[in-house]
């Protein structure tokens, strides 16, 4: 048990919701992290976690023994207490944009690092939006964010929208090597992205809905530009290229967002070069061998009928990106299909990987330093 005490102590804020539950389930088996504190709305606070999720535990695995007896704190009034108890928090709340934004800042100001699954701070210029394999260099902005907040240890990072994780990873190495001018993308998004199952959303059975609320298409067009943005002194300045046009469609799939992508490159290249680049691409999480990192980030399938949502979205525990059907196009240079797991890579899994990166890179202190040391 001595080893347990060396783990990073993690707080889950918004612990009773679907994303919060997924964090609990993932961290139950995590080699570096232990859930030390759970918080939710005042409705749940004061109850044990087991009582608070009674009848609404939605994960496949049973409620982990280690969290059953934790007393749920209030996300809004116990900030100081939570910040004192943990090394950092994952935040996944269902509050308004303004409330979420204020809550996350309050945690950061209480010297508690926040890894957010919410969208409130995605446009804040000094809050990095991290896909660990693509833009780990953006973590450097944390220093100027800390200055703005007047803190030493606290900060906020956010994850991107789940829709873009099916195409931005594939486009990234091409953009770096050949330059990327224009992208047209149509996403085919699973219902779990809306927090639903076929039992709770029967209208989706045998159906396609050509609209996803919450400005999904705007997010799908704008967020990649922040991911590819330039790191300047006090902000991340979004990239100006590529031009992206997106349509987002809800389809009758439970898990896994697919994207059909058309792209034009600045420098022309062959299909073999593109596939080679994908297969060889390695990000920092692979180099550091982080616990949640897929061994191979981008998998290209040669088969004509792959990747398939149901067959392939769990590749490498739902953390790898599957690609296929790369071919020349009459209007753009090339077109291809991408697929990612929206609730793992696209949400909780991606956030946990970001937390691992933050620990390994020294942005979060505490926990098992020996593990991090062994990574260097």
């Amino acid at each position: 048990m001595e080893q347990q005490s060396k783990k990073y102590k993690v707080g889950i804020v918004g612990a009773t919701g679907m994303v919060g539950q997924r964090f609990i389930a993932i961290i139950a088996n995590h080699p570096w992290f232990d859930v030390a504190s759970v918080a939710a709305s005042s409705k749940s606070s004061g109850k044990t976690y087991e009582e608070a999720v009674a009848g609404r535990w939605m994960m496949k695995d049973p409620l982990p023994e280690s969290v059953r007896e934790l007393v749920v704190l209030s996300a809004e009034s116990d900030i100081r207490k939570i910040a004192d108890e943990v090394d950092f928090i994952f935040c996944a709340v269902t509050m308004s944009r303004e409330e979420t934004s204020a809550l996350e800042e309050a945690f950061a100001k209480a010297e508690c690092p926040v890894i957010s699954a919410n969208s409130a701070h995605r446009n804040t210029p000094d809050v990095p939006m991290i896909i660990p394999e693509i833009n780990p260099q953006h973590l450097k902005i944390i220093e100027s964010q800390r200055k703005r907040l007047g803190v030493e240890r606290g900060f906020i990072t956010v994850k991107s929208n789940c829709s873009i994780q099916s195409y931005v990873p594939a486009l990234h190495p091409l953009r770096e090597k050949f330059g990327l001018e224009k992208v047209l993308v149509c996403t085919y998004q699973a219902i779990s992205g809306a927090g639903k199952t076929f039992e709770t959303w029967p209208e989706m059975i045998e159906n396609v809905i050509p609209y996803i609320g919450g400005d999904e298409e705007k997010k799908s067009e704008r967020e990649p530009l922040k991911i590819w943005g330039n790191l300047e002194e006090n902000s991340i300045v979004p990239a100006s290229l590529p031009d992206i046009s997106a349509q987002c469609v809800r389809v009758a799939a439970l898990d896994g967002h697919m994207a059909a992508v058309h792209m034009s490159l600045r420098e022309k290249t062959s299909k073999e070069n593109i596939i080679g680049l994908w297969r060889e691409y390695e990000g920092l999480p692979q180099k550091l061998n982080l616990p949640s990192a897929p061994r191979q980030f981008l998998h290209y399938f040669d088969e004509q009928d792959r990747p398939q949502t149901k067959l392939d979205c769990m590749l490498e525990n739902g953390m790898a990106i599957s690609l296929g059907r790369l071919r020349e196009d009459s209007q753009y240079d090339y077109k291809f299909i991408g697929l990612s797991h929206n609730t793992l890579r696209g949400a909780a899994g991606g956030a946990v990987l970001t937390a691992e990166l933050l620990c390994a890179e020294g942005y979060i202190s505490g926990g098992q330093k020996a593990i991090c040391a062994s990574l260097q």
Binding site: Q3, Q4, Q308, K310, L311, M314, E316, G349
Partner: protein, 314 residues
């Protein structure tokens, strides 16, 4: 989230993995091993695995009895496990059959499967030479002490000639690496006593396709199935209904396929299931000697059962 091998050594040993989380819930397929010209047909094995994953199968058991582990060389068994781990690539769990009636052989195969990156091990009781209950405890604790993976025991007295007692299960459940048992004894008194005594520390999966719904209704977590080789989606759906507590609907599916289950065991497994897959056009080849082709009469019975559920067209 756990990755095989590399991280096992990277992280702080057993403590970072919760060995007492069920290896899987729902349907696992004891997959047949396809042969072509005397060798394992890996391309076909990959197709069979993808057919399983698309159907909702939660885990693949490689090198089980259904996979004809008894008539494969060590090199073939190892290659099959290696292939399975790479091809599945953490989409579902890989459970490697590594049991033997020789403790040292079981240890060798188990450590080799761990190195290959399997997620869990399935180990049958020492068959033929057999042992005592004390011997079972020693054998499995010895193996569990020397691997870093969850172990599913396998009780199949009709093939092995010995069975666990509930007391032995309770004793073995104390080992952190022993996760549960694939129970094919059909002995509900044994299973009930075990579930009652172990209280969430030891999981039970059915090893008999005809026992799925009854066993899950008293706390079993699923099936390691032969039937799912031919109808993965239906078996996965049946177990999902059971996990959701809807036994009435699950039983309807179960009973629909009862006659087919019977005919899949009309001759020694995996003779009929391989024949059925071949009849469905899957081209998995013949089983290896001493297993042989089906008798004409039994083949007609199997075809009839398959037609009745729409697996073969009249």
């Amino acid at each position: 989230m756990r990755k095989p091998s590399m991280n096992m050594t990277r992280c702080v040993g057993k403590d970072c993995i919760n060995m007492k989380t069920p290896v899987f819930k729902g349907s696992a397929t004891a997959i047949v091993t396809p042969f072509r010209e005397g060798k394992i047909d890996f391309k076909k094995l990959g197709e069979l695995i993808d057919f399983q994953i698309a159907g909702g199968t939660a885990a693949i058991v490689i090198n089980g009895t259904t996979g004809e582990c008894s008539t494969q060389t060590i090199e073939e068994s190892t290659a099959a496990i290696d292939f399975c781990v790479k091809h599945i690539n953490s989409r579902v769990k890989v459970i490697a059959g590594t049991g033997s009636n020789d403790t040292q052989s079981a240890l060798f195969m188990s450590q080799s499967a761990e190195k290959s990156g399997a997620d869990a091990l399935m180990m049958v009781t020492p068959y033929y030479n057999k042992t005592t209950q004390q011997g079972l405890i020693k054998h499995f604790n010895f193996l569990a002490d020397r691997v870093n993976l969850p172990i599913i025991l396998y009780n199949v007295p009709s093939r092995t000639g010995l069975s666990f007692t509930a007391e032995t299960y309770t004793e073995l459940a104390k080992h952190p690496n022993i996760n549960g048992v694939k129970e094919a004894s059909g002995d509900f008194k044994l299973i009930g006593n075990t579930l009652a005594a172990c209280d969430g520390d030891f999981f039970v999966w059915s090893g008999n396709d005809e026992d799925v719904v009854p066993l899950m209704s008293i706390g079993g977590l699923g099936i390691i199935s032969v039937l799912s080789n031919v109808i993965p989606a239906e078996v996965a759906q049946m177990t999902k209904l059971c996990l959701d507590g809807d036994y009435g609907k699950a039983a309807k599916i179960h009973l629909k396929y009862f006659d087919l289950i019977d005919k899949l065991f009309i001759e020694v497994n995996p003779i009929p299931v391989k024949t059925a897959l071949n009849l469905m056009g899957m081209d998995v080849g013949e089983p290896r000697m001493p297993l042989c082709e089906m008798s004409f009469d039994n083949l007609e019975k199997l075809k009839k059962a398959m037609k009745r559920v729409g697996l073969l067209i009249e």
